[in-house]
Structures are given as structure tokens and as C-alpha cells.
Symmetry: C2
């Protein structure tokens, strides 16, 4: 815990409401952060009266569509810890710069004022940290000072200043386990059938998720045999030669490919120039593109998988470390706020990898906003196709442990909020 956070809670004149919103692509554990915010806010009644959540994130704030979280049962809030995706609804909606879009910022402040909102907790990635930062600035400018704290969330793990980002550990665990399991399948079939398996994973700009696939194997001939990162320009000839070599030596080849894999000129592999029967551009995944490339070059029988949302929603196999950190980030956000900090984001600070120990830190939003943390080059083997020992040391603790949801009739029991709306006080405002 940062020294800053050890400060005593400031004495509050009177408690005010807090606004909480989920932003961007959701994760298996973003609701655990919500639970951290809500349960911790309940421990500071002198500072925080109610938590009001934006229905569909910041859109809910703009449209004054606020969910009264006090109307949810304790059991529902506790259940958020084991429920994937965004229980309050998320939004892909980036507020533009203050100059271009002052009306929306003013509307936000009007809604906050109308509902006596003194705290803004924004649970998202790079863009969202930028928004939270802007809200803290505009609030001050417009004479409505508001405490803005970001709660980090992104499966891409590309937020700077935090050792890792809640959401990533669980995707990493899903991808590592799925790659391991599918690899055993291919190994079984390779003698007479499938020789190549391609697994497409998320991560358009950073290869953290693809790297996690590498945890599936340790030995020289263990799968995955090839990982394609967005950080390494794709070299078709080198790749195809490697596939052939692996199939000839091992009998089969497992490839993990990031959706962001691209050629040296920046063109995504997924943009294959493919047309359908009507001449429309076929928007396919990179998985089938890579598989077809191999078939054309070598004729190997292949299978491919695109896990898409499955990977980031897979709460059933979430990492306990990730769940704990997601909750801790929500909790720390509230603690930062009631201690008088503003425009900050709590962070995960790694103390040691073996044994894995971590604590909570904090960073200014201004530093985090819009900065992307890519996979360091020394996490990738010199040939560009695998992960190094250094990468394993970083990644391995993040997939540790499980905290399975309760089950009923063979299915996880995920909670659903009632979502009771707070009565509107302002004229309507519709987000397009």
C-alpha cells in the first residue's frame, strides 16, 4: 500500500453519493471490482451515502439512467465477485476532448450535481482512465469539484504503471488451459488427421494474451510451437518454414495467434482481401487466415478455434489471483477517494514472483491515460515465435488458483441485478 493511502480518511462535511460505471470490453472479473467498490463504500457511511451505477457505463450518466445500488441485496453484491461480464452494462463510448465536446462534459456535471454525486469511480482501460482524468479537470473548471478515481480493467494487460491489470489473469488462464487441452487433442489425431491447430486469441495491439498461451508447454517440443505476436512483424516465409519443421519433427504443430498479428507494413493478417460470393469483403478472424495459409503452402489438415468472448467471459475458470486483485482495485479506489486523493488509479505492485506476493499502489491518472504497455522484447524469444523464461516468471503467478462460482444443475449460478432506476430530475438527453 502506498504511503499516500495510509493517510486517515479526511473528515467529510456530509456524505455524498458515488457514481460507479463499467467501461469498454468487459472481463471475467470486472464485477469483482464492482463488488470491491460497493462493499467498501458501505464501510464509509460518513463519506459515501449511496452508490449509483451508470446503466451501460458513462451512457447511463449522460442519460441520467442511474441504478440505485442500495436496492440490490447483499447477496447479489457479494455474488458479483463470481459473475462475469458487466452486471451494470458497459459501453464503448469515448468522450472526446473537452474543447470538441463541452456539452457532454457539462451534462455529466449537471447529472452529478442533480444527484449529489461527489465521487466518480470509472472501471476501465486506457481510454477510460483518460475520461476519468478529464472529468476531474472539467469538474474543477465548472466549479463542481469531484473526486475521480480510475479502477483498472482490461484483458489486454496494456495499462502502464500497474504490474498487471485485472481481467488479464483470467484470460491468460483460459488461454493457457485451452491451448493445453486442444494440444492434447491434436496430438491424439495427428497420425491420420489434423496436423495443425491454430488458436486465435485477443489482443489487437499487445501480445500479452498470446504470450499466456505459451504457459501451456515448457519442453522443446511442447505445444504451442509457434506464437504470433503483434509486437513482431509477421514473416510469412519464416513462419511457414517453421510450421513444416515442427510438423516433421513433432508430428503436429500448435499455433497461438494474436488477433493483432500483422505484416511489417502494418496490414493485419486478418485483413486477407477475401471476398464472399457477393463480392463483399469477408471479415474473418486471423485464425482461419493463418490456417489456410498453411494448407496452401503445405497441404496439412488443420483445425482452428476463435474463442472470442468465451475467453474474456470464462469466469468458470478465472484465476483466483485475478479475482482477488480485481476486488482489491475496487476497494482501494474507494479508500483513495475517502482519504482525499483525486485523479488517481490504484495499481498492483509485485513484491516477488516466487513466491508470488503483491500489494496495492497508486498512480496519477494523468500518467496512465492513453499509454499502452506492450510486451517487452525480452519476453519474446529471439526468433520471435515463443516466450522467454522472463515472460514465464512474470505470467505464471497471474493464473494461480481458482475460485469457482457456485453451481446448480450443472451450470454456474451467476447473479443478475434488479437494476432499479433512480428517479430522473433533468430534461432528457440521448446518446446517439
Amino acid at each position: 500500500m502506498l504511503a499516500a493511502m495510509k493517510k486517515q480518511p479526511r473528515s467529510a462535511a456530509k456524505p455524498r453519493n458515488a457514481f460507479y460505471a463499467q467501461s469498454g470490453g468487459v472481463t471475467a472479473v470486472i464485477n469483482a471490482s464492482a463488488a470491491g467498490v460497493i462493499e467498501t463504500a458501505g464501510q464509509y457511511p460518513k463519506h459515501i451515502r449511496k452508490v449509483l451505477a451508470g446503466r451501460h457505463g458513462i451512457v447511463g450518466a449522460l442519460e441520467e439512467d442511474l441504478i440505485d445500488v442500495s436496492r440490490e441485496s447483499r447477496a447479489t453484491i457479494a455474488g458479483l465477485r463470481h459473475t462475469p461480464a458487466g452486471a451494470f452494462g458497459s459501453a464503448r463510448f469515448k468522450l472526446k476532448g473537452i474543447e470538441q465536446n463541452k456539452a457532454e462534459y457539462q451534462r455529466l456535471i449537471e447529472v452529478f450535481a442533480a444527484h449529489d454525486i461527489g465521487y466518480f469511480f470509472y472501471n476501465g482501460g486506457n481510454d477510460s482512465m483518460d475520461t476519468a482524468h478529464k472529468v476531474s479537470q472539467i469538474g474543477a473548471q465548472l466549479g463542481y469539484p469531484i473526486t475521480c478515481i480510475g479502477v483498472p480493467k482490461t484483458v489486454d494487460n496494456d495499462l502502464p504503471y500497474t504490474d498487471c491489470c485485472p481481467g488479464f489473469g483470467s484470460v491468460a488462464k483460459y488461454v493457457a488451459i485451452s491451448t493445453l487441452e486442444a494440444s492434447l487433442d491434436v496430438a491424439s489425431m495427428a497420425r491420420t488427421s489434423t496436423k495443425v491447430f491454430v488458436m486465435e486469441v485477443m489482443g489487437r495491439h499487445a501480445g500479452w494474451i498470446a504470450a499466456a498461451g505459451g504457459l501451456a508447454g515448457r519442453g522443446k517440443d511442447d505445444a504451442p510451437h509457434i506464437i504470433l505476436f503483434p509486437e513482431i512483424a509477421f514473416d510469412r516465409a519464416a513462419f511457414l518454414a517453421r510450421v513444416k519443421k515442427v510438423v516433421e519433427r513433432v508430428g503436429y504443430c500448435v499455433i497461438v495467434v494474436s488477433e493483432g498479428a500483422h505484416y511489417a507494413d502494418g496490414r493485419f493478417l486478418a485483413d486477407a482481401g477475401t471476398k464472399d460470393a457477393f463480392g463483399h469483403t469477408q471479415l474473418g478472424g486471423v485464425g482461419p487466415v493463418v490456417a489456410n495459409m498453411i494448407r496452401e503452402a503445405h497441404g496439412y489438415k488443420y483445425h482452428w478455434a476463435v474463442a472470442d468472448y468465451l475467453q474474456r467471459a470464462a469466469r468458470h475458470i478465472a484465476s483466483k489471483v485475478d479475482v482477488d486483485q480485481a476486488y482489491a482495485m475496487g476497494k482501494a479506489a474507494v479508500e483513495l477517494a475517502v482519504r482525499g486523493h483525486n485523479a488517481m488509479m490504484p495499481t498492483v505492485v509485485r513484491k516477488s514472483s516466487h513466491p508470488y506476493r503483491w500489494t496495492v499502489g497508486a498512480v496519477e491518472l494523468a500518467k496512465v491515460a492513453n499509454v499502452e504497455k506492450k510486451l517487452p522484447r525480452d519476453f519474446i524469444t529471439p526468433d520471435g515465435f515463443g516466450i522467454t523464461t522472463k515472460a514465464r516468471r512474470y505470467l505464471s503467478p497471474l493464473i494461480g488458483g481458482g475460485e469457482p462460482p457456485p453451481y446448480e444443475c450443472g451450470l454456474p449460478v451467476y447473479v443478475k441485478i434488479k437494476g432499479v432506476a433512480v428517479k430522473k430530475k433533468l430534461p432528457p438527453f440521448t446518446v446517439k
Copy 2:
């Protein structure tokens, strides 16, 4: 247990070796059947001396590449129960009719004779039951009587005479949970982003796996909102109209589509006539085809997933019922054999659905061979897009319970056989 199985083990002149092989597409629990065969064989030393496994299934028998299972530790054999895919290697290799291909059948019998194999346990689906049946016939014809017992296995659940088929329950559980989790994700995003999610599942000829996706929701507006079965000819206009209606009412639409979905004329949806930039036919999944179809008609933003091998290898989330049944089928196969039965397959017999109770039966291979069990029409709603209460009653118990593998460093610990080969005694024979 069938009355037939209650017979006492026949008195054996002297113990003989047993051959075990895995065949066709593997599953999350086929190794549990292997464990059932191997551990049960060990309980009948007067009948069975050693279990010799075919490396890569029947190919191993033809090539005299036999694995001496007695060289594996007890812990490894026990660990097969929680290890997905085919630990001994499987094969997509169908022996042709006896008349067209007598040489291969003769070779099989030569290998069996050379290694004193008196029992043939064949772990597979429809085709494999046909092969096991033929081997029992040819053995008798060639003066080498051999006890042939099929061990049912197929994720497709299309074997007749058994209430369900080991491998299916775990895929069903994976598909139901994945659909549920991804649906929560789409629901979170729909306000400003993804409105349609398409999940492609296995099952080229029968819609059992697609039907299992229906377990994800119960209420009228719960996902999945549309299931596309191979049993129902695809009606593009009706489908697109339904998607629109669902998006307008619910805000988003989740679709589970079987890889075998096809038009009335038999053409698969996946065969989209798509060409890549080089004019080659693009072999894509049906998931992206359906998603594109929706985009062209309605312009909705979509995501799609193709789980492919992930679904059938997902031992981490296997159904306990399925694991138990897979083991029981392996065990019963050996019990049938030592009791003097031949050309049989053990079956799962459902005694009741609520509470779920089942027992072991048996059926003649001649009846099972090459027969496909499709989803009954009354398991599908009249509109062709959903599952009925009757389907739920059948499916729900099969995904019950879990039996997670052990974990280390965040990953399941799956066993690997040593695979020590038995010394060859015959001239080489290579399977092309």
C-alpha cells in the same frame, strides 16, 4: 446391469492379452474409458494377462505398434480419468468392407495371434462399432475367434441404443456454460457495440451439441435466442427476421449454430462459395458465415466464436456424470468380455431423469454399427429455433456435477503415458 452381465465370468483356459484402441475424434473423457478398461482388466488376471494398446488406434494394431500398458504406473492409469484427448493416440481410419480389404483384416488377425490377443476393446463411435463387429466376424472366419467389445464414445451423442454417449455430457456442459458466459458479455456490450453473438458448435449430422447450448437460458428472453440445428433446413428469411425481432425486443441476439446447419437442398451454410484473394475456396466455419449474413441484412455489429477442439478437450469443466459413465463403459466392456459375451457394446440406460439415475446395459454391435441417432423432432420447438422441455429433461442431468483435475501453477496436471512399445514379431506393414 443387463441380466446377461450378471452371468459369472466363464472359466478361462488360460489368460490371454487384451487389445485396446481409441478411434475417431477424441473427447474429454475417452481416457476415463481407457482407465475403466485397464483397471478392470487388472481385476481378472485369470482371463486377461496384459492390456496392449494400439498406438494411434487401429493403425497401431496393423503396424504392430503396440503399447505395453503394464509398463505404465498405477498413478498414470488412474490419472487417465482426468486427462482429456486420446492418451494412446487415436486414428481416423475406417477399415473397408471385408471383401474389398481382406489383407488388412488378415494382418489384424496375424498381429493378434502373434501377441496372443484374445480380446479386442474398441473405443469409438458408429464407424468403430462397425469395425469391431467386422473383426469379430473375420476372426471367426479365419479360425481365430476373438472377443470383440465396443466401448461407446462420441461427442456427437449419435450412437443408438444407449441413452447417451460418453464424451457428449462434457461437450454439452462446455457449450452450455460458454454460451451462458458469452451471453452475459454481449448483454453488457449491446447498448453501444456488439448486438449479435454467434457461437459455432460441433455436430455435423446431429444437433445434440447445439441443443445443449439451449441449457444456458430458461426464460423467454434468455440467451441463446436462436439455435440452428442440422435437423432443420435453414430458412434464411425466417432466420433473419427472427434475429431482427430479438434484437429489437431484447437488445441483442445470441445464436448457437451447429457446424452441420444446411439449406433444404443439403448445402452446408459453411460452404459459402467464398474465395480468397488468390481465388481459392475459403474454408471457413459456419459461425462467420452466419454472422456476415446478419451484418449484410441488418448491419448489426457482431462477434462470433468457433470453439472447435476446445469444446471436446475441455476436461477442466467436464461433467461428472460423463466421467462416471465413460469409466463405467470401459469397466462394463471388460466385464462383458470375461463373462463370455462377444460383439456387444455396453450402454447407458436411464432409469429416471429427476432424480437422475442410470445403470449399465448392453446391445449387439450388429445393431449399433453405422446407425445415427438424430435429435428427435419433439426436442426442437415447432419454430425450429429452440429446445423443448422434453429436450431439457433429457439433457440437463448429463451436464451434472464436476470432477476437476488436479492443478499445479494454475494449470491442470494431465498425465502422459510412457508408451513403451511391445517388441515386434512380424514383418513390417505400413498404413498409408
